[in-house]
């Protein structure tokens, strides 16, 4: 029987290795044409470095708050390693294709639902004798256009005033 600390680290190690394998498998299924990124290449040096630091500290010194800083550094490196793995995965044609397909599916599902929802809402508002969203948007658009026209008129007046001013001089 091993002691509880060893058991804990055995479990941790097993989890990491299994998640690495699962990740590699998932990525290789997602991008069959391209060579899958190797997440192990990123996180193994991080793990090695972190664990070695910790082992050294525990073995050589009495525990000090530096441990917490070391742990923070380890987590930073861990996150950074994951960030690179994900960055590498997302920077592939396979991932872009997958995103494009997901978006297509979302749009295909959303378009009829949106149209139906808008029509139902418009009808309900009409029955209640209230302005619909489309009508309100139309009015707002007209106000924007009016503002633009006013500006053009203002510009014209300014230009005429400037010309008159120049003539007077």
């Amino acid at each position: 029987m091993s002691d509880p600390t060893t058991q804990l680290f055995d479990t941790w190690k097993r989890q990491l290795e299994e998640s690495t394998q699962a990740w590699s498998k998932m990525v290789s299924q997602m991008t069959p044409q391209a060579a899958p990124p190797d997440p192990v290449a990123f996180w193994r040096p991080v793990l090695n470095q972190g664990l070695e630091n910790w082992a050294r500290m525990f073995a050589q010194t009495p525990a000090s708050p530096d441990l917490v800083s070391q742990w923070k550094q380890f987590l930073d490196q861990w996150i950074e390693a994951w960030s690179r793995v994900l960055g590498q995965t997302m920077n592939t044609e396979g991932f872009a294709q997958m995103m494009g397909r997901s978006l297509e599916q979302m749009l295909a599902a959303q378009a009829p639902a949106k149209k139906a929802g808008e029509q139902a809402l418009d009808q309900m508002l009409m029955h209640l004798n209230l302005a619909s969203r489309t009508q309100l948007t139309g009015v707002a658009k007209q106000i924007v256009e009016l503002e633009e026209r006013l500006e053009r008129v203002e510009d014209g007046v300014q230009a005429i005033l400037r010309r008159l001013d120049a003539k007077e001089r």
């Binding site: 192990v40 793990l47 090695n48 000090s64 960030s83 960055g87 995103m99 749009l107 924007v144």
Partner: protein, 378 residues
Amino acid sequence: MAQERFADVVERFTSGFNGAAAAVSPEVAKQWQEELERNVRRMTNLARLATAPEPRTGQTPRQEIYKRNKSRLYRYASSRRHRTPVLFVPNLGISRPYIFDLLPGGSFIEHMTREGFDFYLLDWGVFGPEDNDLTFEDCVTKILPRMAAKVLETSGTRELSVLGYCMGAPLSASFVASHPEIPVRNFINMAGPIDFSQIGLFGLWLDAKHFDVDRFVDTLGSVPADLVKAGFKLLKPTMDLSTNLNLWWNAWNDKYVEGFTALNKWANEYVAFPGEFFRQWVRDFYQGNKLFRGELVFGGRPVRLSSIRCPVFVVGAKEDYIAPPACVRALIDAVSSREKDYIELPGGHISLIAGRGAALHCWPKVSEWLAPRSGEAA
């Protein structure tokens, strides 16, 4: 092989952890006490963070001098020492511009006004469904010329400097390049993408092979804020994790927590894109790279970067994954200016303009470059 090495490390670690209880020195005991106190402060600040009212951002005094539909032009109070005013053009959509005036002591705008610049901010505003027909071209040919004219009129000068940040840089570069009659004395591009062939992840995801922008806009009408948020979160999925880890780590520091609260408020306030603007932005810039290629025609005028002849200053950020330095730097080779400078600073897209690093590295560089090129106020 690699698996064995990992096992060796675990083995070394577990055997190294033998519980050797060395006598704790007074120095180590003191360090632990400090750590404990720090943790108490962490807990107090985190509890306060959960119930704290929204921080007051954008406190530099300003005056609205012009408005058009949702867009506003603000002039900031300054002890004006430089004659040439600065028109600051940020991104349209995505986020709100109070990031540039986040908190007193941590504000780019406050820095520029303190340096004596007559500073103007164009706030594009938050667009609604009634603005879905607004295009990139409208912004360049209708809104920007009017804003520039208002700046000249209010400041009583004949020339102005234009400073574009993020998407504001291609917007203002297009404006400067296509409006030679507007007297632009200096042009600054801060983290603004110019050569979209080097834009990185967004370029790949928005490639015409994978992304049908017409279908997208035709279906949704506009790009809702939630989708904008999802896109940016996806660009750096570990960002929230490291943000929260750093918050916990620095939570003992009141100043850090104050800055975090303000920045976090901004970082979670996304702004929608008008549909037609997004269509043109993606089609002509991400997919067509037309600005860099000189193929854009706005309002019947060709938009050629080579027609920019004023002094140009370009600032890129080393770790910018939204506008990587190479795509920002491209402006330097595209313009015809005799005087053009490029610097690459540490940090990312946001930390270039906001935060302690920005105050140290970026803001002084911008004001020092601009000051001798802005004349003296009468």
